[in-house]
Symmetry: C3
Subunit: 213 residues, 3 copies
């Protein structure tokens, strides 16, 4: 019960983070309160919605509207914060919260894929990646920003490593899902936090062009 | 029976409007007849298709292909009209027809959400907004135009007001769906028409940047 | 049995082609190995996934992960090839393979629509077009490239002609699906190959603007 509570709390924290970073990401282009809220909600629930549509299960927010309410209020607060604070301050601190959200959502989706089970072994990995980056891809597309796939950021790579790790751990010891999940969440979070902190990017020899854009 | 007929007629008028404004919106970039038709059809059925996929019900146009036929012919006519008339004339008159379509589709989708029922009370509102603006978002994305979420137009706001109004009216007097729907459709239409006529935009203090882009 | 094998082989060839051309299409913008792989996989399975979601059937790759594996390795090889060869060489030869993939996927999807049956007569045609161009539209959108709907290329037109041809042939002689399919696949392939070879574009009078962009 306590673990479910913690998971739920982390899910809500992730929702807050996704919504708030979405607003911070589009704010420099000049967006209104309504557009910001729609953008925040789409980003927060987008990845999970695509996952549920592919799995052909009811969308997760239909049975728990708290995800929508939380995303709405977080977006509005982020809109206000963007009016009051300088953009850099807000955005930087949001990135770490976003890293927490990503790690949470990625492992949750991978777990959902293992439990069903859906198209093992690749299926849960695909679900994890879609859930983690889907909302952000929709956000960047709707905002006319470069999507993260083109930015050579270490964003999806930590997610992929963590999800593969979880798949392996669940294969080795399927009974200890909680510990496995916690370890892989932390792995994703710290890899992503390191990428934010040291501004790490994909090395040049792993790029089709050697100059960073 | 007569009310169903009227509703059907309005739905078709909305389809014509969505398809034709889509073609008018992408025409200045230089599109061919085939691309224009695909764009028109996607815009006309896109929002409703996303709604039905989220609701996990069969897509609405599968059981009534008239939606597709009408969208196809409207797109082709709009293509021709764009060759013959000046762009401004066509587009301006289309905007009012589009406002009618938006008001119709928004209330129809909200009603569908209440009837099912789907994730009350927020669910029907989300469906109404998705159905009204979804097709336009896909159109702008595929055409490489700025999406309406970033344009500070009063487009989604009238839709939201009307859908919330319908939810409240249906809570107060669920037996008078027809009158409730008609009132809220007119509300959306007139708010949107006013925004078009006086070129109203979201006020500056509701923007993250005070200068309009 | 042999025909199923051939069909499967063609499907895999199409998957390779879609993944590899996707990587080649985004490579000039500077993408990393991971982004390239995600882009390749999304392009290869995107159109078919939208088709299956609209049909409300399980996504095709869930029951046969070879589509994902093949798309992944083809993307990685294409990434390597883009580092080693000049871009023009790779891309040009890929276009013909892509034409094969398109023709295969379009007829396959149309056939699926006829068999179900789904919204005859327009339904299978829509499925054919979505499956053939859906992945490419997602790819161009995520990469920030102009989508093919705006490029006046003869890409979707050959697909449409072939799919309509298949619908007519299947109406006339439904028992000879294999021959019908082969003919229409070849028709799409040769029309598309001709468009690539002679760099054919949509004629000016079928454009909203007479100057090519």
């Amino acid at each position: 019960m306590q673990i479910d509570d913690l998971q739920y709390l982390l899910g809500m924290a992730g929702t807050v983070a996704f919504a708030a970073t979405a607003v911070a990401a589009v704010a420099p282009k000049g967006i209104d309160l309504f557009g910001a809220t729609v953008m925040g909600v789409i980003t927060a629930i987008g990845g999970g919605t695509i996952r549920d549509v592919i799995l052909d299960v009811p969308v997760f927010w239909a049975s728990d509207l708290n995800y929508i309410w939380v995303a709405m209020f977080a977006s509005m607060l982020a809109f206000l914060a963007n009016k009051l604070m300088t953009h850099g301050q807000v955005y930087r601190s949001m990135l770490y919260l976003d890293a927490l959200g990503v790690s949470m959502f990625a492992i949750q989706a991978t777990h959902k894929g293992i439990e069903l089970p859906f198209a093992l072994p690749l299926g849960p990995l695909i679900l994890g990646i879609i859930t983690a980056i889907g909302g952000g891809l929709i956000r960047d597309t709707l905002a006319g920003n470069q999507t993260l796939l083109m930015r050579n950021e270490l964003y999806a790579v930590p997610v992929t490593i963590g999800c593969i790790g979880y798949l392996i751990l669940m294969h080795v010891s399927p009974e200890s899902a909680v510990i496995n999940g916690a370890c892989c969440m932390l792995l994703i979070f710290f890899l992503r936090a390191a990428a934010i902190h040291w501004n790490l990017r994909v090395p040049g020899w792993l790029l089709t062009k050697t100059t960073q854009p």
